[in-house]
Symmetry: C2
Subunit: 199 residues, 2 copies
């Protein structure tokens, strides 16, 4: 006696989710099939819809359904400020603080030499190309204050400064080792206001 | 600036999974869209396939792709023994012990008065109808030894005995408070061998 193939396939498929092992995957499969078939169908549809419709914004690289995301398409925002963040969630946190009206570049990751993630993997060339458009005057680096975020910030600063750009880093008003996603908006706003030029 | 609708829908849909809150759902969505689009597609397909193909076995109620599951369709197994378990995972654990060659009935749940889950919700009528077929001589109750599993075992025993059936309970060789899913096969086999008649 083994599980039916379609059940085993579902359990295996659920293990693609980060943090989900064999036991959780089995529990999730039983829950969906037994208690929430509507939710399972909604999830399948949402996955299809997202895979079909979500692309990267051509300018800032965040997730977007249109070629340009809302922020990049907004002519009211300051075009001379470019803020570099690791993930779309960081961008949303900064937007919630309402203290920044420039544009963004989303790395969709960070350098992580320990995990073999180098400059090529997070497409820094695209950032440079975006930053040297002649309109951007200052690049504000808002990667996390984790080890990986700091390494990323350091490399980006050097690359951008080599192109003659003014580079700043949001202030270390954030707790050391903290991640943008988990900080309160007030602290994050303070860090934005107190950004300092990279010497 | 907000998330694109298809991203928000995916995050909301992932929250149907047990144990997944807003932050995990967001992390999962980013992971799937950024790092594992193939996995996301596989998950959507597996959900569709499982929803389409998995039904309950007509006799034992476990998940099955055919009207009768492998166990119920196996004429070699003892037809006079019926073992009642809470979930399909429990059935698989018992099969792994290779100490039981009778049939099963899977409750697909347990009584849980605290959560408002009563006899109607786990379809005990179906169990009774299955057990009084005239072929079954003994019903072995192998619900978990948790509070809910014990309450369930108690009620089932009374109902089945009222129909004149011989009822036994797997031995308390299992650790108190333990769940079948997490026990080693040897202990579970012992509990099966030492099952005792309900007085």
């Amino acid at each position: 006696m083994k599980n039916p193939p379609s059940l085993d396939q579902l359990i295996a498929a659920l293990k693609v989710l980060p943090g989900v092992g064999p036991k959780s995957a089995q529990r999730m499969a039983f829950h969906l099939l037994q208690k929430d078939r509507g939710g399972a169908d909604k999830l399948a549809r949402a996955l299809d819809h997202a895979l079909l419709n979500l692309r990267h914004c051509q300018r800032c690289h965040t997730f977007s359904e249109s070629p340009l995301c809302n922020v990049c398409a907004d002519a009211e925002r300051r075009q001379d400020l470019l803020c570099v963040v690791e993930m779309p969630a960081d961008l949303l946190m900064l937007e919630q603080t309402r203290c920044y009206d420039g544009l963004y570049f989303v790395l969709m990751g960070r350098l992580s030499p320990m995990d073999g993630i180098g400059p090529k993997d997070i497409d820094l060339e695209k950032l440079i190309a975006r930053a040297v458009d002649g309109v951007v005057q200052e690049v504000i680096i808002a990667t996390n204050f984790t080890a990986e975020g700091e390494v990323t910030a350091h490399l980006i600063s050097e690359m951008l400064q080599a192109h003659g750009l003014r580079v700043s880093r949001i202030a270390r008003g954030m707790p050391v080792g903290g991640e943008l996603e988990n900080v309160d908006p007030g602290t994050l706003a303070q860090a934005m206001y107190e950004r300092r030029s990279v010497s």
